[in-house]
Symmetry: C2
Subunit: 438 residues, 2 copies
Amino acid sequence: MKEVEYIVKGEYLVTMGPSGVIERGALAVDGGRIIEVGKEEDLKRTYRGRTEIGGPGRAVLPSFVNTHTHAPMVYFRGLADDLPLNEWLQKHIWPQEARWLGPEFIRDATELACLEMLKAGITLYNDMYFFEDASAEVLNRVGMRGVLGAGILDFPTSEAKTTDEYFSKAEGFIQRWHRDTLVVPSVAPHAPYTCSPETYKRAVELAERYDLPVHTHLSETEWEVEEVMKRYGKRPVEHLDSHGVLNQRVVAAHCVWVSEEEIEILAKRGVKVSHCIESNLKLASGIAPVPEMLRAGVRVTFGTDSAASNNDLDILSEMSTAAKVHKAISRDPTVLDAETVLRMATLWGAEALGLADRIGSLETGKEADLIVIDLRTPHLSPIYNIYSHIVYAARGSDIEAVMVRGRLLINEGEPLTIDEEEVLQKARRWAEKIKDAS
Amino acid sequence: MKEVEYIVKGEYLVTMGPSGVIERGALAVDGGRIIEVGKEEDLKRTYRGRTEIGGPGRAVLPSFVNTHTHAPMVYFRGLADDLPLNEWLQKHIWPQEARWLGPEFIRDATELACLEMLKAGITLYNDMYFFEDASAEVLNRVGMRGVLGAGILDFPTSEAKTTDEYFSKAEGFIQRWHRDTLVVPSVAPHAPYTCSPETYKRAVELAERYDLPVHTHLSETEWEVEEVMKRYGKRPVEHLDSHGVLNQRVVAAHCVWVSEEEIEILAKRGVKVSHCIESNLKLASGIAPVPEMLRAGVRVTFGTDSAASNNDLDILSEMSTAAKVHKAISRDPTVLDAETVLRMATLWGAEALGLADRIGSLETGKEADLIVIDLRTPHLSPIYNIYSHIVYAARGSDIEAVMVRGRLLINEGEPLTIDEEEVLQKARRWAEKIKDAS
């Protein structure tokens, strides 16, 4: 008998890898990695776990990947809703950001965002915001993963005054963090209407130099398409492609307004799309042609966008909404079937962020990033198909345990590396200041 | 000091009545009714509660109303998903129904549905299914409310063989239950493509005789519109209206494919619409013109439809989905604002089922049907606007307490009148039989 740190058991072990779903399956986890995957009865002949988690009535699966968010904006959740986009941004979000952003805000808000995401089974998120050193420190303290990039724009913000300053800060951040275990730095040119083609080129060169992801917004609104057409005579995807900046390291958030030709470009260049359906719906931006992108071979993944627009950081609910909405829009109830949707939220998310060789599925040799879902609840009873239950009926509150690199971060629904009470109190205090300033 | 059974306290007392939101508010509850509503500090000068529930960090609001479901189908949750409607019905749902339906199935499945709904804050649901005596008995045992009607069709099912038999069974059910406190019988002609105009007329007459709601499906799919056009030369709403069967006691589920003229008819006749957005999306039926109906003055409420199509019985998630989807479809982020959406799910739901004089808002003299939401969680922090939090961010698991007619049915998230363990075990046993027969 070989002793390992954990045996993780599931009535349904949903590997998202070649083994598919293993009923009454188990994983042996040691040294941060999955040592073996199999039937529980077989595995237990070889391994003894110092700790066992999961068991009957549980599903074990790779944890969720959130491929587009602005995590610290969680402090603006519900600050201003049901408003036109411009009024929302100009009268509410931007003035508050101008007033509060700084390392202290980012650190406290990121802690809340991490706590919310972990409890909802997200262990890796792709962030674009400011003062990302503060976020990186939180991730290391908490034990969660993030791909972090400070937004680069051709105009001044709290982060920097000139394009050069953005780049020099970005490279400094990269140098400090690109060898980290949990944090991957990214380069994050904001959008085609806020960054010149030169800025995009410089961003992609920087990313290539360090072998990092590029994170950008792309074709979120019809206004953006018109604006880019006006300036450059091309639609946004065509425009960026004409400057040679689209490739397999680019994660493009939204891609709502993309033509057939642009979908072909995204497919050919291997661009990864972060589909943020709840944000796109709530801000009335539109509905991305996801079934068409999937058919063309584009890797589509899920992003929550910020909690200020959405209003939560919950991939389970993005999956459910997307799977349903695209059926209605395409008039075809067979599109975005539950298994595909779960793959988009797990393995493809990891792939989009360049980490599919390490995480995203439960396979021998991969790092142990996983969740345990408790199925023994009224809204998950009875059970016929595990994919369908996860995508259409499970909620964040069903997540019993969360593990990153073999370290248990949530157990019995409670965080082990974050002081929840303290995080909620800090949020209250910040909200009072923000309200007073509104 | 007057002693009352309960003082219910909320940092936000969301009355959905003329008092709006009372911060640090409280209710005195006694003999099943709300005795007084006010600021906690004022109320406590007059009343002492034998039990106090709620408190800081909680929202107290009227419980949710589910205006269209087939509750016992919860046993078919996830049995067959991502399929075309006809294949789903003909190959999966109908054969299973033909095999299993009977009082025992209905009783056990209704218990699970009630448990799921109560835990998600729903205390009143509008049901159309079969063998409703079994459901009525469950409701009385559990302490929850339902408007129950056996489906009436012009062809045989497990319930009855002829139209006459349906009506004689319906009237028998009405006579047994129409004086009940928790159960309201309804008359439930299934749909314009399964019931003749004569059947509808007979149904409405029966409902008028006993002053009860009429519950029907209406204009759910484009196929239905074509079919009714073919048979009667009119669109479904026009067709029913031409036979004089639309009035203020009719609750019409779906109304997806309604023309401008038909919206006018619905408004003029005072028909209540049950909007089942998640079911309509998932079955690719289409998206009802809800902003247009609201503008025309139609009372639109929320239904979950059955858990076999949706896949849960959760009005919180219907609210969130509807509020977002209609913004995108109408290209206007101001439609279905959070306060309107919450009114649709509470007061208007009660009104649709003829119960707004008794429940649906927190007002002195009304019966105490209410929920307490725990806001002290990461995904509900920080807080600026309570309506927005309930509609866009709250989940079923945030519901701490549920009360019907002044009786506490859920406390600290746990059911007090249902044995959850037993209900889940029964669901497992039934599912094994159903799987074996698939």
